[in-house]
């Protein structure tokens, strides 16, 4: 007579955990998790390495733009204002005007056009008036304008206090 072996019902939850299928699941989870952890610990520094560290943002408030008499009326020059180029314009009436030379559209360096007495960006044909207001083309915002002060023979340009 054949004897039938009946396995006792598993009511104990810890015994259920040890079933081969669930054991595989747990092991896969642990192995997968630690592998993912190892990969992340490689990828994170790599991504951080690719993005350069932030530069010390030394806010420039003033710069030497040039010398009196350097510019004829209705002409302009670019000069260095901190880490960016800026524009010094001598208006036809002899007064000075200064503004950032970085186009607000896509960052090209603008130039003064004596013919139209406008500031023009050759990259995408944007135009600004002498107060830096964007008047034509794609620039979305006006140029930042600066205060101009004459100290003896030197022309100094400074950031506007209200800006």
């Amino acid at each position: 007579m054949a004897t039938k072996v009946v396995s006792p019902p598993t009511s104990d939850p810890s015994q259920q955990l040890l079933k081969p299928k669930s054991r595989r699941k747990i092991l896969r989870f642990l192995m997968g998790g630690s592998l993912a952890g190892v990969w992340m610990s490689l990828v994170y520094p790599l991504v951080r390495y690719l993005i350069p560290p932030a530069e010390a943002n030394v806010a420039t408030n003033e710069a030497l733009a040039g010398a009196v008499g350097e510019l004829k009326p209705n002409s302009a020059k670019t000069f260095r204002f901190g880490t960016h180029p800026a524009l010094l314009i001598r208006l036809p009436n002899g007064e000075y005007q200064s503004m950032s030379a970085v186009c607000t559209h896509l960052g090209c360096t603008v130039q003064y056009q004596p013919g139209t007495q406008q500031v023009w960006c050759p990259c995408h044909n944007g135009r600004y008036d002498l107060n830096g207001r964007n008047i034509q083309g794609p620039p979305p915002r006006p140029l930042v304008t600066f205060d101009v002060k004459l100290r003896g023979e030197e022309i100094h340009v400074s950031r506007r206090q209200d800006a």
Binding site: L50, I51, P52, E55, T78, F79, R80, T83, H84, P85, A101, H105, L106, G107, C108, T109, V110, Q111, C121, P122, C123, H124, N125, N134, G137, P138, P139, P140
Partner: protein, 358 residues
Amino acid sequence: MSGPEIVRQWIDERVDLREMFAPLMEKTVPRHRFSHWYLLGGVTLFLFGVQVCTGLLLLLYYRPSMSEAYESVQYITNRVAFGWLVRSVHAWSANLMIFMAFAHMFSVAFLRAYRKPRELTWMSGMVLLFLCLGFGFSGYLLPWNMLSFFATKVGTEVPGRMPVIGHATLLFMRGGEDVGGATLARFFSLHVVVLPAITASMVLLHLLLVQKFGMSVPPSVEKEGHRFGSKVKFFPNYFLRDVMTWSVALMVLLVLAVIFPVELGKKADPFGSAPAGIRPEWYFLSQFQTLRLLPATILHIDGEVIGALAFGLAGALWVALPLLEGRLGRNGSRWARISVLGALVYLASTTLYAYFTT
């Protein structure tokens, strides 16, 4: 037995040359009235080879730093024997390679060779085209002249305007807030190490896929009953046609490089104004013109942000063309044809518009 024959036999005994080259020897190319379009991919690959060779030669003298880059290119052009020729061939070959890649892409698109099962071939080809554009963009900066400086400034600013990841992308591309020595170093390593390595593996994948599926017969030709049509053996028949085309390409390249040697222009001045008449290389003119035409703001969003997003979306849709065509069911092929024609008309018209108005 002669020397070369002994060597051939020695190798053959070890690797079985016949079996090794069997796929190539058995390969056939369908012959029909559009067969000549198959040559474009080969010419593009040939020109890539020219780029690798001339690029290696330029590397012997080029120095990638802000203070030396321009001067070293000047040295190559003016002092090194035939340096002007090597540089000119490199620049012209780059332009021709990109032109051929575009021509190849449009021929594939018009003949609808991207249909199942060749979707992955199309996508790998698109990745190769983007890599070509990456080569063009990164290589353009290396002479460090005025044009390249501002082209890079604008070219890195556009992805920099993307929402959320824009600024990080800009920093990653420039190596800092502004275009400078760090950008030059990054672009140099990208141009001579990273892109060539990725491109080589992509070319291999593309060729393996072409080899696996064979050349696609256009649906219109298939309808005419090409199924029973003629074929030519790839080796040596079609391969010789390839070699002939490459020879013509090489001659055209040399003529262009000698008669119109590339100029160097003025050294980049990060604090000088952008020169009048500035514009990017012809293959970016379409995007350039689009950015010029977009208004300052669209629905309270800056025009260039919309532009940057639109370029990304259009590129993604174009890569997914075979999948979209499948999704659209019966009307798919008609829509695909209209899109391909529309893309060609848009690219060509904006490029010509920019060319004649700047």
